[in-house]
């Protein structure tokens, strides 16, 4: 019983490895659609800059989107 369960484990892990390699991952050469401008989170650079500026200087909140700073609103 132990032997059979070990065999099943080995077979399933090999099978899953092959699935992960060939079926699930989007290969680098298949990323044409993902590289399109519509897929970008920053579709409007001007709007993004304005929003970041508002967060940075008026809301005194900061993080994730740029360089380091204290959030004092003094810039």
């Amino acid at each position: 019983m132990k032997f059979i369960s070990r065999i099943i484990l080995c077979v399933s892990s090999l099978f899953l490895c092959n699935c992960a390699e060939q079926l699930v991952r989007v290969q680098p050469y298949e990323r044409g659609n993902l590289a399109g401008p519509l897929m970008s989170q920053e579709r409007d650079p001007l709007q993004k800059a304005m929003t970041e500026h508002a967060y940075f200087s008026r809301e005194a909140s900061f993080g994730g989107g740029g360089v380091g700073g204290g959030g004092c609103g003094c810039n």
Binding site: V11, Y29, E30, G32, A35
Partner: protein
């Protein structure tokens, strides 16, 4: 007594059959795993004409070959084209062949990109990703530098401007000298 013996024989037969089936499955899976391995340094370069039927692949026998996988949607690929043009102008006479394989699925995008670039070297379109699936490039662009004997000697992932160009020039000169 006889029925017990029969039962034991049947059990042994079943175990043997099971073992054979498991062995076959394991062999199949291992071969699948090995078959999916991408070409690496030291391996022979496969024939590109077989993977890209209809493409005008230049004669590469006895030459140093640079095979580059690119796409129109890839910024570094676009940046690498002037570099390949310079390398082609400098080393084509000495025995370098550059083959750029475009992996765009849309032929119109491929054609539009090629029309914009002034390409001096050979190009091929791998719309069905037959060659790309075989080489499994880790990033875009990826290029393979092959020596005169047809062995892959260097693999470049990505393009980092002048630094990569200097590496190409050094490696090409080394392979041309052999």
């Amino acid at each position: 007594m006889i029925s017990v013996k029969k039962q034991m024989n049947q059990n042994q037969n079943t175990i043997l059959i099971m073992k054979n089936i498991i062995r076959t499955i394991m062999l199949g899976l291992v071969s699948m795993t090995l078959a999916s391995a991408a070409p690496s340094v030291g391996q022979a370069m496969p024939k590109l004409s077989g993977m890209l039927p209809g493409a005008a692949i230049p004669n590469t026998a006895g030459k140093v070959v640079l095979v580059d996988f690119w796409a129109s949607w890839c910024g570094p690929c676009k940046a690498s084209f002037p570099c390949f043009n310079r390398l082609h102008q400098k080393y084509a006479g000495k025995g370098l062949v550059i083959v750029g394989i475009g992996v765009d699925e849309d032929p119109a995008k491929y054609q539009a990109f090629v029309a914009k670039q002034q390409v001096a070297f050979a190009l091929a379109h791998d719309a069905k990703h037959k060659a790309a699936a075989f080489f499994a490039p880790s990033t875009m662009p990826t290029s393979y530098l092959v020596d005169r004997k047809g062995i892959i000697r260097y693999i470049h992932s990505g393009f980092k401007g002048a630094k990569t160009e200097a590496e190409y020039a050094k490696q090409i000169e080394e392979l041309l000298a052999k």
